[in-house]
């Protein structure tokens, strides 16, 4: 249990960035106690990352902003020291390992913060060895350059570097956002290890598997102010509807708890995780179980895709050898097809070749072997900015609809603005939009004409809040209803389960398995071999199947 001594405190703190009318976050009053694991939640743009960066004064010392109120760390006001001086007390892990690491060897990366603390060399070497062992990297990896590591390995090195600091406070900003499920689970296990005495301040939206290890949550609203805080399970039960309205992610157990509550079947104490919820369901009386099973049935059904009628193949790969642009072959012997009205998921660990296969399916990359049949497909890239070519949203849509600017083209562009909820943004530069708005604009341009019957969506939910992700699910359904074939590349297994008919699991230099999504994402040995984890919903599906037997 956390001690009562506060380590960090924001007292009526607020932040406003230069040239911005509204505050990015605040005013907020939050106190974090020693040893407490505190999770910050909120919709996109609610100021979570800004708040983390105020803790050591990175905002405003390094990132210019106007900060009002008081922020204290270990009893001192934060601006009494520079952010670099606070590094001895606060270890920080960022979302993107590429921005954290400098391209040195693994050993040098881990030692970097310790060198900055001017620790004696023998102590640095001892701490580096302990950190390498803790994250499970082989000792021979110490001399490897981080530029040559996979995305998952790089984040592990960044984690080792933060662990080596042995700081009393550990801050992590969506550290698993770009990781495959198995890599994310490994990182999370390290961060939440029971023996770790650190106070933990965390921003993350992958809540299943995390929330049961958190002491308290603080939820920020769209105006950057605290809308709810407290024990995670209690807060989700008390404020669930409001959090849904705000687009805040909720763990699966909390969502099921809300549905069971309506029928009076929820447990007295809200369970923090799905395993405890299922244990509660097992304990229900035989009379109550059928009703619970019916609720679970509906709960599961709303989280699975109900496929539309599937049409003819739109794109086919036969014994294809796929390689990135001007790069070596990463996938061999690939045979796949995408049909009209069908959603195919591509899943696999970091570096398995998902994006390369997606671009090959769309016909954007020349195959190094085998053949592709079918018309060219469109692709919504991981970074939507990559596909914008004009200076305003209106011009981007206009260019996508037609090179001419006749009334018909203008009407079509206006229809796209309405359909993809881009009104009011017409004269904004595409780079100025939020991540969700950029994704919508990218999809709007791809669906503006009938040019691309098949679309590849690369990590379409990355960086989105729950509302944004739900909108993507609806958009995919709408596209399949109009006969598009969709390929979805994702690390989010529950999202794959919600939108895909078929799934291909990539690994070991090719396709390890392909088939119906429910069948493959329930195959634990296969998922483990591919560096993946089953969806959080899978135990619920299995419980329902068990009860109905």
């Amino acid at each position: 249990m956390p001690d009562s001594e506060p380590v960090a405190a924001w007292q009526q703190a607020s932040v406003r960035y230069p040239y911005q009318q509204r505050v990015a976050v605040g005013p907020v009053t939050i106190v974090q106690r020693q040893g407490e694991r505190l999770l910050l939640l909120g919709a996109s743009g609610s100021g979570k990352s800004t708040l983390l960066n105020t803790l050591t004064g990175l905002v405003p010392a390094t990132i210019p902003a106007e900060v009002t109120g008081e922020i204290r760390l270990f009893g001192e006001t934060v601006d009494e020291r520079s952010p670099a001086e606070w590094a001895a007390h606060v270890a920080q892990l960022f979302q993107d390992a590429d921005q954290t690491l400098c391209g040195m060897t693994v050993e040098d990366e881990i030692a970097f913060a310790l060198e900055n603390m001017a620790l004696p060399e023998p102590e640095i070497r001892a701490r580096v060895a302990r950190a390498i062992e803790a994250v499970g990297l082989p000792l021979e990896a110490a001399s490897r350059r981080t530029m040559r590591l996979s995305g998952g390995e790089k984040q592990l090195v960044a984690m080792a570097a933060a662990l080596a600091q042995e700081s009393p406070v550990f801050v992590a900003d969506e550290p698993t956002a770009h990781l495959s499920p198995a890599a994310a689970a490994r990182l999370r296990a390290l961060m939440l290890h029971e023996n770790r005495p650190q106070s933990l301040l965390l921003v993350d939206h992958r809540l299943d598997g995390l929330i049961e290890h958190v002491d308290r949550i603080v939820v920020l609203g769209p105006d950057g102010m605290v809308v709810a805080e407290g024990d995670p399970a209690e807060t989700f039960r008390a404020h669930g509807r409001r959090l849904d309205d705000l687009g805040v992610w909720r763990p699966l157990a909390s969502q099921l708890d809300a549905e069971l509550s309506v029928a009076g079947l929820a447990p007295v104490d809200p369970p923090p995780c799905i395993a405890e919820m299922l244990a509660h369901l097992d304990r229900l009386s035989e009379e109550a179980k059928p009703l619970a099973a019916a609720i679970v049935e509906g709960f599961v059904a709303r989280r699975l895709r109900h496929g539309t009628e599937v049409g003819p193949p739109l794109a086919q790969l036969e014994d294809a050898a796929c390689a990135p642009l001007f790069g070596p072959v990463v996938l061999n012997g690939v045979s796949l097809e995408v049909r009209a009205g069908e959603v195919l998921g591509l899943v696999g660990s970091n570096g398995a070749g998902k994006s390369t296969l997606g671009a090959s399916l769309a016909g954007l990359l020349r195959l190094k072997g085998g053949r592709r049949e079918g018309p060219a497909g469109g692709m919504a890239f991981q970074n939507p900015e990559n596909q914008f070519v004009t200076g305003t949203v209106a011009d981007e849509l206009q260019a996508a609809v037609s090179p001419s600017t006749g009334p018909e083209a203008q009407q079509k562009a206006a229809e796209l603005i309405r359909r993809w909820r881009l009104h009011g943004l017409e004269q904004h530069h595409p780079y100025e939009l939020s991540q969700g708005q950029k994704r919508r604009l990218a999809l709007a341009t791809l669906t503006a004409t009938e040019r691309w019957p098949m679309l590849v969506l690369d990590e379409p939910t990355a960086g989105l809040d729950a509302a944004g992700a739900q909108a993507v699910v609806a958009q995919i359904e709408s596209l399949t209803e109009t006969g598009h074939g969709i390929v979805v590349i994702t690390h989010d297994m529950d999202f794959a389960l919600a939108v895909c008919d078929q799934v291909a699991i990539l690994g070991e230099g090719g396709i390890m398995a392909q088939g119906p999504v429910r069948q493959l994402l329930g195959d634990r040995p296969l998922l483990s071999r591919a560096g993946l984890e089953p969806p959080a919903l899978m135990p619920v599906i299995e419980w329902r199947a068990r009860v109905s037997c």
Partner: protein
């Protein structure tokens, strides 16, 4: 041979840097085809036989320098635009016309300078080099680690450029060309600049969050130390250069 290779990698980066700079200076100041050929030959010997680099790779390395040098050669032969000094020196060279002689020496000089630099770059660990600069020549750690971050950025920038090119080619309805044309290159500038600025800002934040700041004492682990191998290497390289200069003179 392997032992020799190991010896070269054990040499202090700053010793190697000074020696390489001296060889480059000799190449620039002494206008002699034989000296340039000697420097090129020595560099190839070091890279192929001592460092076990593929001869093909070493040949490929020479290509950009050769293209650069070829510019001097054509200018000299076709337009006689080189300096009087070059022509005066070339009169003494047995390579046909003065202009051709001057052009050939300039051509070889470009390759010689490039190959001497390549020996340094290919036999020096960048981490060890930056650490040596910080410890021995008081390079600011901020600049040193910014250099590392910039190195890290290069492959990511290339990957980003490829993504942008793929997206553009999708819209254009044709596969991307291997080498982008001038218009395509110009259209890449803004997205890549935006990417680089955003990335550099985040890297700066991360470096500061990990405790890097100017003016604070810091430990540097694993910095290279000067040893006997530096004396041996320095003496050998200097002696070789002096002998070459005497022979040429």
């Amino acid at each position: 041979m392997a032992g020799a290779g190991l010896m070269l990698s054990a040499v202090h980066p700053l010793t190697k840097l000074v020696i390489c700079l001296l060889w480059v200076a000799a190449s620039i100041l002494v206008f002699s085809a034989s000296l340039q050929l000697f420097i090129i030959g020595t560099a190839v010997f070091v890279l192929v036989l001592l460092e076990r680099r593929s001869p093909l790779m070493v040949m490929a390395l020479m290509v950009p320098f050769a293209l650069f040098g070829f510019g001097f050669l054509t200018t000299s032969v076709l337009f006689r635009q080189e300096s009087d000094f070059a022509l005066q020196m070339a009169r003494e060279a047995p390579l046909g016309s003065e202009a051709l002689s001057a052009g050939v020496v300039l051509f070889l000089r470009a390759i010689a300078c490039g190959m001497a630099s390549a020996v340094f770059v290919l036999t020096t660990d960048p981490g060890a080099f930056v650490k040596a600069l910080m410890v021995n020549w008081r390079l600011s750690p901020r600049i040193g680690y910014a250099l590392f971050s910039a190195l890290q950025l290069v492959p990511d920038l290339a990957a980003e450029a490829q993504q942008v090119r793929l997206a553009r080619s999708m819209k254009a309805g044709r596969p991307p060309r291997r080498v982008p044309g001038p218009l395509e290159t110009a259209s890449l500038v803004i997205p890549l600049l935006a990417f680089a600025i955003r990335r550099a800002s985040r890297a700066a934040v991360a470096l500061e969050a990990r405790g890097l700041s100017a003016g604070r004492p810091r430990t540097v682990i694993g910095a290279p130390v000067f040893g006997r191998s530096d004396i041996a290497f320095g003496a050998m390289a200097l002696a070789l250069l002096v002998v070459a200069l005497v022979v040429v003179a």
